[in-house]
Amino acid sequence: MNPKRTIGDVILEVEDIALSFGGVRALSHVSFGVREHEICSIIGPNGAGKSSMLNVINGVYHPQHGHLVYRGKRIRRMHAHKSARYGIARTFQNIALFKGMSALDNILTGRNLMIKSTFIEQAFYWGRARSEEIAHRRRVEEIVDFLEIESVRKVPVGRLPYGLQKRVELGRALAAEPQVLLLDEPMAGMNVEEKEDMCRFILDVNDEFGTTMVLIEHDMGVVMDLSDHVVVLDYGRKIADGTPEEIRDNQQVIDAYLGVAA
């Protein structure tokens, strides 16, 4: 096994997170940990609070209670733009691409934190502005090749089919070379082939770069195949947490979510 894939210690913990919107309790005192290099899946019925959990982790939502611990650092209030600086990247359930920009530009934007050139250098396309642009473009082309979207790289993403948009969004997240990647239903609405491609991308990234992943997915086949670790949410509460096998045999999970078929 690839040494980078050797699962390490817990690097991300959510502790006692409670989040509500007015009267709606999206999360009630949820705690779990994600270990370095693992693929952790969050599953649960619709409205269980899965997306909200990711939004808490990368600072889009601010929980009323609880905190995060990331690489030993206790974070009471995460801010969205800070999460990127911690090396946490993200894709969204409802694709959140920059619709008017090309696939290339979307992915290039993912590297914004690595840009060192100043605004003035950019206005003159001078010095670092030029060399950086070319260097980043090279990295982005590698991502484009990896995701097999060469043919659409210059098309405004708003005009791409859904499956390709999902890939571009993954590309934008990868461009940041993240330590932790949060994927909100990356395969929703895809056909079998597209799902297989996406699974391959996720596994390859995890394997090659050792990127820690937190994944939300409804397809149990995919979850069982990919995950090292599964967390089950139901009505905002964590009802189970363990290996895929443990989850499959957990009576409470079967009752709440998997049903008899699984």
Binding site: N58, G59, V60, A80, H81, S83, A84, R85, A89, R90, F92, A96, L97, F98, K99, G100, M101, D105, L108, T109, G110, N112, L113, I115, S117, F119, Q122, A123, F124, Y125, A129, R130, E133, I134, R137, R138, E141, R172, A173, A176
Partner: protein, 355 residues
């Protein structure tokens, strides 16, 4: 030679990231510059230079400024003319109070003052969006117009609030004829347009567009929304400010705060609607369209009806055609003439094999 992208393999990312990656585009720009700098001065008369082309270029610069803010960064503004006013009055005051200041430095400082004011009036954009932001910029329009009239200091206590721009001299060379003014304006506008093109294709521009298209996602990938929006306000106002200074110095000569009223702001907004949101070229096309259309209507009406047509009817006709076009573009092609041009180019690019 036809316009196309296929068949031209780029050998490096450097050349593909160049400012105009497609040679025909590069030649097109060269040709336009050649015509603007060499051909027009040779053939255009003083009327065309001084009354049509110079104001067209200046308005294109202001439209470019607004396009950066609205087209690229997605922040609607109805205050462009007010920032032009700031630029005009600032340039006048720098000349007045720092005699002998180099002209170009004066224009840059005027732009910077406008940028500063732009940042202040951009602060509401951090909280409010769309329609409400437009109303806030409307407040900027009225407030600036009012202060420039109210406080005599800005116009050096001239009784009517009118300022008379100083002579334009660079290194002893007097820009006093319509041709010289045109060439000066053309040079400044070309350089600023090139810089804008560079900005929008680099990280700054991508951040603007990211905030425009999906601000939550932009923040999640590390873009600072506040910095990005205020930067757009600053750069946009800088462009409008320089345009205002040129309006006073190179076009009208004497201006007051009312020269830059709400009507002017709307005119600039219409330019980017017709020309194309989020397009540098569109700013020029839109300005050309709106400056030239009344002339065109006038000429064709006279050709059709002779002198029988009443002038008030004519000006109403302008308004009707204008309103119709705005509605057309808002509904049918929000990306304006520049987009129609781009579609034509895309067709050519793949022609004759569409797939």
């Amino acid at each position: 030679m036809i316009y196309r992208e296929c068949g031209q393999f780029k050998t490096s990312y450097g050349s593909d990231q160049a400012i105009f990656p497609i040679p025909q585009d590069r030649w097109g720009v060269m040709l336009a510059l050649l015509i603007a700098f060499m051909v027009i001065p040779a053939i255009a008369n003083e009327y065309w230079l001084g009354v049509i082309l110079t104001p067209f270029l200046i308005l294109a610069l202001a439209a470019l400024g607004l396009n950066i803010l609205t087209g690229y960064c997605g922040q609607l503004s109805l205050g462009s003319a007010a920032f032009m006013a700031v630029g005009a009055f600032a340039a006048y005051n720098f000349e007045l109070r720092l005699p002998g200041i180099p002209l170009l430095l004066d224009f840059v400082l005027a732009g910077l003052v406008a940028a500063g004011v732009g940042i202040i009036f951009g602060i509401p954009s951090l909280r409010i969006k769309g329609f409400y932001l437009a109303v806030a910029t409307l407040a900027a329009q009225f407030f600036i117009e009012w202060s420039l009239t109210k406080f005599g200091w800005f116009s050096n206590y001239s009784s009517s609030g009118v300022i008379t721009a100083q002579k334009m001299v660079i290194l002893g060379y007097d820009f006093d004829t319509p041709l010289r003014k045109y060439l000066l304006v053309l040079s400044i506008v070309s350089v600023l347009a090139l810089m804008a093109k560079n900005l929008v294709r680099s990280e700054t521009g991508r951040a603007w567009m990211a905030v425009r298209d999906m601000d939550v996602a932009a923040e999640v990938i590390g873009i600072r929304i506040m910095k990005t929006k205020l930067m757009a306000f600053a750069v946009s106002s800088f462009y409008c400010g320089v345009a205002g200074a040129l309006w006073a110095f190179a076009y009208l000569g004497t201006v007051d705060a009312q020269t830059f009223d709400l009507h002017r702001s709307f005119q600039i907004l219409f330019m980017i609607i017709v020309g194309g949101m989020g397009s540098i070229l569109g700013s020029f096309i839109g300005a050309a369209f709106i400056v030239l259309m009344p002339i065109f209507i006038n000429l064709s009406a006279h050709a059709l009806f002779g002198n029988a047509i009443r002038p008030d009817l004519l000006s109403n006709m302008e308004l009707i055609v204008f309103g119709g076009l705005i509605i057309f573009f808002l509904i049918v092609e929000p990306l304006g003439l520049a987009r129609l041009w781009q579609i034509a180019k895309e067709k050519l690019r793949l022609w004759p094999f569409p797939h």
